[in-house]
């Protein structure tokens, strides 16, 4: 009885030791296996010499040497491992097969997305060639753009997370609803409500992607937080892929020009659109694949830019007070301030997502609060100026949408600031800020869905 208890606890101890070792980036899993064999051999020898299993374990671990020194030695021998590898995966065969299947599925879906995007062309809805299309078809394409990509991305996560049938049915229902709302309204060609619908549908659908991404964990703060991290990383990857694509097309144009072939039509009608939709899936796969491999980029950029944005905003407020200039209310000033709030929210989100909730408030937290509060003040000043003249401008769909977004972001940031200040003063936990941000996510999706579904009839499809 007691012997069995001992072996169990020994196995547990070895398990713990192994997982502790695995966290060292310079010691790969094959090395861990090799060291584990050594450890077990040593334990066996010590037990034969008369030691109890637990004592033997302690002695064997001690003899292997200090882990820090050991991983330093490994780092000296394998310095390339300090550069965390993205595409190269460990030689563990099971993991390799899994990663490979993942990659194949992701690339197939990327090709499928590109094919779906070019499918309407088969039925005469060519992006170029006829003028009629430019008026009718461009709107159709723009409204449905996200529907070429996001269902496939959702499908990828449904497959990866093995979602249950009930959630799956809800996801399908959501996409069917999206297809209906994107296509039933008789939009006037080039109307504002159509542009708004085209802009807001992806936002609403991104929420659906999130539900699939989180698997069964959408109800948990951690699940939603993971989705926020995923979104930020995907954005960065997408930008990087786009930059690479730009270099590729530049070379392509140059090379073919040298032999007298104009590559531009191919580029405009094939490479750019297919690459743009395919990159969403490839980027998502990369984020998933490297999740545990590379330190996340979004928080790094946040660290870099939070102080800079805070400085700019404080300088702006200072100049506002010093010169006594009012905010010049142009047509697009509301949108500009919406974007500003969105950026500030992004900086806040990725600061939260990377922060250890248990660590005490630091200097960076103060900078973060300065950023949020100065953005709020700037926004309130702008809103004040706009409110005075809103009746004069009239309620166009664009303005109502921009105003609604401003209010939503403002409400989020005001409460965030309150929670953050409470945390700084030691009266609240950091987790309440996480909770607030993740609980707020449906609000964005709901508003976006409203703009898609309610605005067109409300404003007469104009």
């Amino acid at each position: 009885m007691s012997a069995a208890g001992h072996t169990l606890s020994l196995e547990e101890q070895i398990d713990q030791w192994r997982s502790y070792l695995r966290r060292r980036q310079t010691i790969h899993s094959v090395d861990v296996a090799e060291l584990e064999d050594h450890l077990r051999e040593q334990i066996t020898a010590l037990v034969e010499a008369g030691l109890a299993a637990e004592e033997a374990f302690l002695v064997a671990v001690k003899r292997l040497g200090n882990l820090d020194a050991l991983s330093r030695e490994f780092a000296r021998e394998h310095s390339e491992r300090l550069w965390k590898q993205l595409v190269v995966v460990s030689a563990d065969s099971g993991e390799l097969a899994r990663v490979r299947t993942d990659a194949i599925v992701a690339f197939c879906l990327a090709v499928a997305a590109a094919a779906a995007f070019k499918l309407p062309a088969l039925f005469g809805l060519e992006l170029d060639r006829n003028i009629e299309f430019l008026e009718q078809g461009a709107g159709v394409y723009a409204r449905n753009l996200s529907l070429f990509v996001l269902p496939l991305l959702t499908g990828y996560f449904v497959w990866k997370r093995r979602l249950d049938a009930r959630t799956f049915r809800w996801l399908i229902a959501a996409f069917v609803a999206a297809v209906v709302f994107a296509n039933v309204y008789p939009f006037a060609a080039g109307s504002d409500t159509e542009a708004l619908a085209a802009l807001h549908l992806p936002i609403a659908l991104w929420f659906i992607v999130g539900i699939a991404y989180a698997g069964g964990r959408w109800g948990e703060i951690a699940g939603r937080m993971d989705f926020i991290r995923f979104s930020g990383e995907l954005f960065i990857y997408y930008v990087l892929i786009a930059l690479g694509g730009g270099v590729l097309t530049g070379f392509m144009a140059l090379l073919f020009k040298a032999i007298g072939i104009d590559a531009e039509p191919f580029f405009t009608f094939w490479l750019l659109p297919c690459g743009a939709v395919g990159a969403v899936l490839v980027g998502s796969w990369l984020v998933e694949a490297k999740q545990s491999v590379i330190e996340n980029m979004a928080p790094v950029l946040t660290r870099l830019f939070t102080p800079l944005f805070a400085a700019v905003l404080v300088a702006f407020l200072g100049a506002l007070v010093w010169t006594g200039h009012g905010v010049d209310i142009e047509r697009n000033v509301l949108i500009a301030f919406d974007l500003l709030l969105a950026v500030v929210l992004g900086l806040l989100l990725y600061c939260i997502s990377a922060r250890d909730a248990e660590s005490p408030p630091g200097v960076f937290d103060v900078v973060q609060v300065v950023l949020v509060v100065s953005a709020l003040i700037a926004d309130v000043v702008a809103l004040w100026a706009i409110a005075a003249r809103i009746t004069e401008f009239g309620f166009t769909p664009n303005r109502v949408a921009a105003l609604g977004e401003n209010v939503i972001l403002l409400a989020n940031l005001v409460w965030s600031a309150v929670l953050y200040i409470r945390f700084l003063r030691g009266r609240g936990a950091f987790t309440s800020l996480e909770w607030w941000q993740t609980a707020y996510l449906p609000v964005y999706a709901l508003w976006a869905a409203l703009v898609v579904a309610i605005f067109p009839p409300m404003f007469g499809y104009s």
Partner: protein
């Protein structure tokens, strides 16, 4: 007697290669052999052997393969290669030169207690 770290590091290559020249082996057994051969005077920190083995593997002096041991566990065995044999011969020459030089120097010197552990009987003299 603890042997200086630099000496341990310098001698690790010929020792490991010589043990593997005898027969294919794996980490734990190599360490055991080192302990036997040195009469317990060479105490390596166990873990440190592995980076050494990996370095020799990278240099092509030894080759690794995974095998399933009698215990049912996977075990990484190392085998000396042709370049390893050449390296061993080279190390042999160099260490002999060092050894010969030192012998010449020791002869002309009488260090208090310097030979004690090499010749334990000297204590009684």
């Amino acid at each position: 007697m603890a042997i200086n770290k630099d000496l341990v590091a310098a001698s690790s290559t010929p020792i490991v290669l010589a043990i593997l020249a005898d027969e294919d082996s794996y980490g734990y057994a190599i360490l055991k052999r080192v302990r036997e051969l040195s009469g317990g005077r060479m105490e390596w920190t166990d873990g440190m052997l592995y980076p050494v083995l990996h370095r020799l593997e990278r240099l092509g002096h030894i080759q690794a393969r995974w095998e399933v041991a009698d215990s049912g566990r996977r075990r990484k065995y190392y085998r000396i290669t042709r370049s390893g044999h050449r390296q061993l011969a080279e190390e042999h020459r160099q260490w002999q030169a060092v050894d010969a030089t030192l012998r010449g120097i020791w002869k002309g010197l009488s260090l208090p207690g310097g030979m004690a552990s090499a010749a334990p009987l000297a204590e009684g003299v």
